[in-house]
């Protein structure tokens, strides 16, 4: 793999993430929420596009949803109502929260006739009696609904097995990239990683698999060339990147990478995340092969849970352990304004992280952005305290110092405006 291939691959992923409507091949079905199994859409011969929301003030949605629904739901509905996605054959929503449920209800009143508008009525519980059976029945219902879409066919077990394999490959590559980000955020900044992950939820998944593999291979090789020990003597991952504090970012679906860039510009490296398009998309349950829908149900019930899923214990535990294994100095909560599920978890998660020695900061996000002025000041102050604590606890001999100043090929793409939708 040559450098230019990887660089072209990255550009293509970033472009797709920045302008999904222009990059989705047809016949396509848009979906909202990462609990919607892309696998079933693919297996039906359709193309899955993760529907985002355009940042900025909303228009037609303002007369449908009150301003206290989360801005993600409103902006999503706005994109739908303004005809941005009229090229799609169908729309799949998932049951997560009250805001998204309301966006679905509004959209099914207004969607162009003849399009599929499906509500994937997944359980809120991820364990307990009947959960797997019920989730599988909902997966099957989705499959039946998709089979009736123009240009689609009812998925066969072979189609599903193929699709599970393909999505698995994309995921694995994203995991490879996450490893690079973790070890060398100077080579792959968190914002660029997330922009690529966004693109991988838009492009043809075969192409997405090839492109993510190309970038992962290239960056992994570059990483091997510049950093010798993959782990420090203490067992923690190395800390290169110019001595910048390493942070974990938590939140929901970000409409843009803007808030992540702001964190990086304020002086921290994002090496780990619990975000909808990022970390929560990597780990899935295994499931057995007996029936493809049961298998998919087990995979999705077993994935890193989001706050709309109950019980919350595994989510808390995974975040706590990620903070530790990824060797972060601090955590930043990007709270979507009016998002109940995340807001309820925040105080306890903050305390859980604090007990694990990880201080945190909370910043509100609305319409895809933070209220920049004040947020920047708070971020800079927080990151400065992280830097000071890290310096006193780490001392001058810390491996992080070694890679000071080394910025890799990916860094240049993380600049402002690079991945705006």
């Amino acid at each position: 793999m040559t450098n230019s291939t990887a660089s072209g691959a990255m550009d293509r992923l970033l472009a797709a993430g920045a302008d999904p409507a222009a990059h989705a091949p047809g016949p396509a079905v848009g979906y909202v929420c990462s609990y919607v199994p892309e696998e079933i859409i693919l297996a039906a011969g359709l193309h899955p596009v993760r529907l985002g929301a355009r940042p900025g003030p909303t228009g037609p949605a303002d007369s449908r949803l009150q301003s206290f629904s989360c801005s993600f739901a409103r902006a999503l509905l706005d994109g739908l109502l303004s005809g941005r996605w009229n090229g799609l054959e169908g729309f799949v929503f998932a049951y997560t929260c009250d805001s998204l449920r309301a966006a679905f209800e509004s959209w099914r009143i207004s969607a162009p006739p003849g399009r599929l508008v499906h509500f994937l009525n997944l359980p809120a519980r991820i364990e307990g009696p009947g959960v797997l059976d019920y989730a599988a029945s909902e997966m099957r219902r989705l499959s039946e609904a998709l089979g009736g879409v123009d240009g689609a066919h009812p998925p066969t077990p072979d189609d599903l097995a193929w699709a599970i394999g393909l999505i698995g490959a994309v995921r694995q590559n994203l995991e490879g990239l996450a490893r690079v980000r973790r070890a060398r955020p100077d080579l792959l900044p968190g914002s660029t990683y997330m922009a690529m992950a966004r693109g991988a939820a838009v492009l043809d998944r075969r192409e997405a698999a090839t492109l993510t593999a190309a970038v992962a291979d290239e960056l992994t090789a570059a990483m091997g060339a510049t950093v010798s020990p993959s782990r420090t003597p203490s067992g923690a991952p190395p800390r290169p990147g110019g001595g910048r504090p390493r942070v974990l970012v938590l939140g929901g679906y970000l409409e843009t990478e803007e808030p992540l860039r702001l964190i990086e510009e304020s002086g921290a490296d994002i090496v780990s995340d619990d975000l909808c398009l990022g970390g929560r998309r990597l780990e899935f349950g295994a499931g057995d092969d007996s029936d493809p829908y049961r298998r998919l149900a087990a995979m999705y019930l077993g994935r890193t849970p989001c706050p709309t899923k109950h019980p919350p214990d595994r989510r808390f535990e995974e975040i706590r352990s990620r903070a530790t294994t990824d060797g972060v100095d601090g955590a930043i909560f990007l709270l979507q304004k009016f998002c109940d599920p995340h807001a309820f978890d925040y105080p306890a998660l903050r305390d859980t992280l604090a007990e694990a020695g990880v201080p945190s900061l909370v910043i509100e996000v609305e319409l895809g952005a933070v209220s920049t002025g004040q947020a920047r000041t708070r971020l800079e102050a927080f990151i400065e305290t992280l830097r000071q604590t890290a310096r006193t606890s780490r001392g001058p001999g810390h491996p992080r110092g070694a890679a000071a100043g080394a910025r890799g090929p990916a860094a240049s793409r993380a600049g402002r405006g690079g991945g705006r939708m």
Binding site: S69, D98, I109, N121, P129, H310, F338, D340, A343, P347
Partner: protein, 420 residues
Amino acid sequence: MSEPVREIAQDRRLTVDRELKGLILKHYMSAFRAKSPLGRKPVAWVTSGAPVEILLALGILPVYPENYGALVASRKAALPYCEAAEQAGYSLDLCAYARTNIGTFLLGQGELGGRPLPPPDLLVAAKNICDVVVKWWEVAARHFGCPLFILDTPYAADGLNPDQVAYVKGQLEDLVVFASKAARRRVPSKEAFESKLSEVLELTRQTVSLWNGIQALRQASPTPASALDMFTNMFPIVTLRGTKTCVDYYRKVTEELSERVKQGYGAVPLEKYRLIWDNIAIWYDFDLVRYLHARGAAFVGETYTDAWGIYDFDPSDAHDPLQAMARQYSLILLNIGLGIRKERLFRMVRSQRADGVVFHSCRSCKTYSLGQYELARAVRDELGLPTLVIEADMADSRAYSAGPTATRVDAFLEILAGKA
């Protein structure tokens, strides 16, 4: 506050209201007694859509933090508790009932003789009213370290399918075991339990049929009861559903309202307009409703109070009470699709012969409020009736300003006058 003085109507209170005060007091006192050294009765914190009949059949006392929130809000006392929750990191955009409850247990203070709700032995929340209660009950479970049961009711967007009913029914079976264990009771035999459960369900059914009868009495002109009577009188059907006390009480309400109808005595003097209220009450500003009353506008129905009339368990499911419950608890107002909700609203508008609909857009309660713009549009376009949307909150008065609201009410009344 320097709000302009609003001219309001004197309430024509029901005489049963006096008894109601006693019921409320007794309910909360019994909860405190249950937790006293001699009490020995387990207390469950439940949501308003929780299948309480199961708990009652097991001898567990349910208490309702939401109802407690309404009680605190109607005393205009929610703010300090909300602020305590906000101090602890809970966003001020979260449901004010939740913030009130969290605030009271964090502070260890409240409005029941200075006390918060008695601590729970077990926690039971049903998702059928909102996603909020799932998260709120998780917070409570962490705080009290006590067992938590979430009844997961999939969205009944277009009604129910058999997989959904089976899933919910399976959880109800599980709840029987869970609640027995959490209450340190022996798990009862299926027969014994179902026979006890059927008795409780029968009491609920009687309550609900009285309740629906009361709503039907309001079809009379003038209506014998308006929104304030109903908001306060829903306390028993919410918190005492499934008990004999509840049935007895609504018999008395029925008698009094029937008498009013016979005498043509209205809840509002000189009833001119008949309105429907959508969403939770604005507990801290009943004067808004009195302001409407003073202008001859009476409420003849509320989706909020009507919602309790849905626990009408299908007698054909009598052999399988859990199945009946699985169905009914999945079909409650806040768990049904907007299309079905619209039908229910339209039916109420027609049966109560309403002239307009007032939507309280309640900032706290997304599940109830989101979708109201679509409903209001439908009322205007399809029924040709005027609508009023009031931006407020059921408990947090910071989200509300009475003055501008009165101005908008005036404009709405002018439209009604023009139509009359």
